[in-house]
């Protein structure tokens, strides 16, 4: 293969600079600060800090509330990722078959994408409102006295539903374009080779969609872990006491409302390490099985 080269080192460096600057200023620098402050105990009024070594980390290990939040985060992320991917894939497969009015249909399905997470959270509050929310009424029909912001399970359910609802359009767009990039003749060849539509989907369509699905898997896990902050904040209604929250929300809560910057920093360092492990795991194990054309 022919490769184009640069005459001097300065041009490529200059071209990369904006990107590197952004990463440095908005990621490495704060990450470095977080790492440093995680070894200190800060005065709540900002008058100074004391070096405490690994104490912020060891106290996390013994903290039952932290363990509970970690447990909820795992269940929440798995549910949000799985449901939003599965529902979006189903919708994309169905939308791909629509011939008449396909564009209108697709646009309608994508609209939700334009809603900001806090707004989605607010819409969630309206939907799950104690006295007027249609979803509350829906759950009451099945005998569940749904109390958003009061009952732990009710709030958790609402969080998952709103987060999934918000993420479906993104996944839908990617899955649909992934489906449409599969050559028509390959699917037709499969129609001649395999009578079962389900068999064709799992043996031919889905493997060809795997690169898209893998990309979305990473995006969705990141979304569930970090980007649902606004939804959680809105649905919790400022009552963190008895409500579920994710690790990211707890970092914010302990750091900015509890004024425990050291403990909060230690939590974010733990999160960074977790994400790092997760990413390595995904690329090592999952991506190896994927066929890129």
């Amino acid at each position: 293969m022919k490769r184009a080269g640069f005459d001097t080192i300065w041009l490529p460096v200059a071209l990369l600079m904006p990107q590197l600057m952004i990463i440095a200023i908005f990621f490495y620098w704060p990450a470095g600060w977080a790492l440093q402050s995680s070894f200190y105990l800060q005065d709540p009024f900002g008058f100074g800090s004391t070096f405490v070594g690994g104490e912020n980390y060891t106290s996390l290990l013994g903290n039952d509330q932290y363990k509970r939040v970690a447990g909820f985060t795992i269940i929440y992320s798995v549910l949000v990722t799985f449901l939003s991917l599965a529902i979006a894939l189903l919708l994309a497969v169905k939308a791909d078959k629509v011939i008449r009015g396909a564009k209108t249909y697709r646009t309608l399905l994508m609209w939700v994408y334009a809603i900001a997470p806090p707004v989605a959270g607010f819409l969630g509050i309206l939907f799950f409102d104690q006295s007027t929310g249609p979803m509350t009424k829906f759950f009451q029909m099945f005998g569940w006295d749904f109390k958003l912001g009061v009952d732990y399970n009710a709030t958790a359910t609402a969080m998952v539903i709103v987060a999934v609802w918000k993420q479906i359009p993104v996944n839908f767009i990617f899955f649909l374009s992934g489906l449409q990039s599969i050559p028509r003749s390959v699917r037709e060849a499969a129609m001649i080779d395999n009578r079962s539509a389900t068999g064709r989907f799992w043996q031919v369509t889905f493997p060809l969609l795997a690169p898209t699905a893998f990309f979305l898997l990473i995006i969705n896990i990141t979304y569930a872990l970090f980007d649902t902050f606004g939804i959680i904040d809105a649905l919790m209604k400022g009552e963190p006491g008895n409500n579920p929250m994710t690790l990211v929300y707890k970092v914010y809560l302990d750091g900015f409302r509890g004024n425990d910057l050291g403990g909060s920093s230690a939590q974010s360092v733990v999160l960074m390490v977790l994400v790092l492990i997760l990413t390595v795991f995904q690329f090592r194990l999952v991506e190896r099985r994927i066929h890129y054309t």
Binding site: E188, A190, M191, D193, N194, G199, L208, A210, H291
Partner: protein
């Protein structure tokens, strides 16, 4: 192995476009039939209707004795080779070839044996564990062929399978496909826009134009006795010369030209006269004046492009004949003259 019959088949798309006009023909058991025509003539639509990938608007399609209008493509006992090969990119060659067998409940040992046989027949044995992306165009085409032959279907369908290959490979694959079909004795329907492929491969050719069958016949019939001016100009390279003329009393007069030529037909009126470029002889005592504008050297023969009385005309001469630009006299072989109705283009 089976005979395929199309009875009053018609195709209209939901937007009202009629892709195939009402058509009937029968393909005999073991026959190699080529559907040929310019793009948009409905040849692929016809093939896809036979495959079951396209609904049939009207008419009855039979493969063997069975009406298959509403039969699933997988149950029609057909195999199809696509223009862009349509291999499964995530499967190895072995799995690509065996996929259809696996889905029909064939035993693993039998699949493996059949795949090995097909691979051997197509010189693919050493590539069995590669993925399609690691193969050349010709090899991918062979895999697509392997996928078709391994199932031993009643009918092969080919949708312009060679048009993605370069000229040399195309000629080679043309012969291989034809030989394979002969050896297996499987009925085949082959779609192409390339008239050379049609002429060389077909037992019978079906020429299509704008959704209509123009002519059905052996390559020789199609070439020598085209049913219309469309067939005359579409089949053969260079195409048949078509010149406007007036006819009456066993004689024909080329428009813009005063000389009369004798013809065996009795017809009076305006006609289009057709003659193949190789049926024209350079002759000093010839009765027609031909103005040569361009000499085209093709090695085995030469083409002289020019005009008779300002109507474009081409003459083919052997490599040993001499010719130069300017006016020359020619003779048209009377038995090679074909006459078409000027208005309808149909053969008289």
């Amino acid at each position: 192995m089976a005979q395929v019959s199309l009875e009053s088949i018609r195709k209209v798309y939901p937007n009202g476009f009629q892709a195939v006009e009402t058509t009937s023909f029968t393909i005999q058991d073991g026959e190699f039939v080529v559907l040929v025509g310019p793009s948009g003539c409905g040849k692929s639509t016809l093939l896809r209707m036979i495959a079951g990938l396209e609904d049939i608007t009207e008419g009855t399609l039979k493969i063997g004795d069975r009406v298959v209008n509403d039969v699933d493509p997988a149950d029609r006992d057909i195999a199809m080779v696509f223009q862009n090969y349509a291999l499964y990119p995530h499967m190895t060659v072995r799995k690509n070839i065996g996929y259809g067998l696996k889905n029909r409940g064939t035993q693993a040992a039998e699949i493996s044996a059949k795949v090995e046989d097909a691979a051997k027949m197509l010189n693919l044995t050493e590539y069995l564990d590669r993925k399609p992306a690691q193969l050349s165009g010709g090899q991918r085409q062979r895999v697509a062929m392997g996928r078709a032959v391994v199932r031993d279907p009643a009918l092969f369908l080919f949708d312009e399978p060679l048009s993605n290959l370069d000229a040399k490979l195309r000629n080679q694959m043309r012969i291989e496909i034809k030989a394979l079909q002969r050896r297996l004795g499987t009925t085949a329907v082959y779609v192409t826009h390339d008239q050379v492929e049609a002429m060389t491969m077909a037992d019978r050719i079906i020429v299509l134009n704008e959704g209509k069958v123009e002519q059905i016949g052996t390559p020789s019939e199609i070439y020598h006795n085209p049913a219309s001016t469309f067939v005359a100009s579409f089949m053969g390279a260079p195409p048949m010369n078509l010149i406007e003329a007036e006819m009456g009393q066993g004689q024909v007069r080329i428009n813009g030209y005063d000389q009369l030529l004798p013809v065996p037909e009795t017809y009076a009126g305006s006609v289009t006269m057709g003659i193949r470029p190789e049926d024209v002889v350079l002759d000093d005592r010839g009765s027609v004046t031909f103005r040569v504008d361009i000499l085209e050297e093709l090695g085995a023969h030469r083409l002289l492009h020019g005009a008779i009385a300002d109507q474009p005309f081409t003459v083919m001469i052997g490599k040993d004949d001499t010719a130069e630009t300017g006016e020359t006299r020619i003779t048209l072989k009377p038995e090679a003259l074909r006459l078409f109705d000027k208005a309808t283009g149909q053969k008289l």
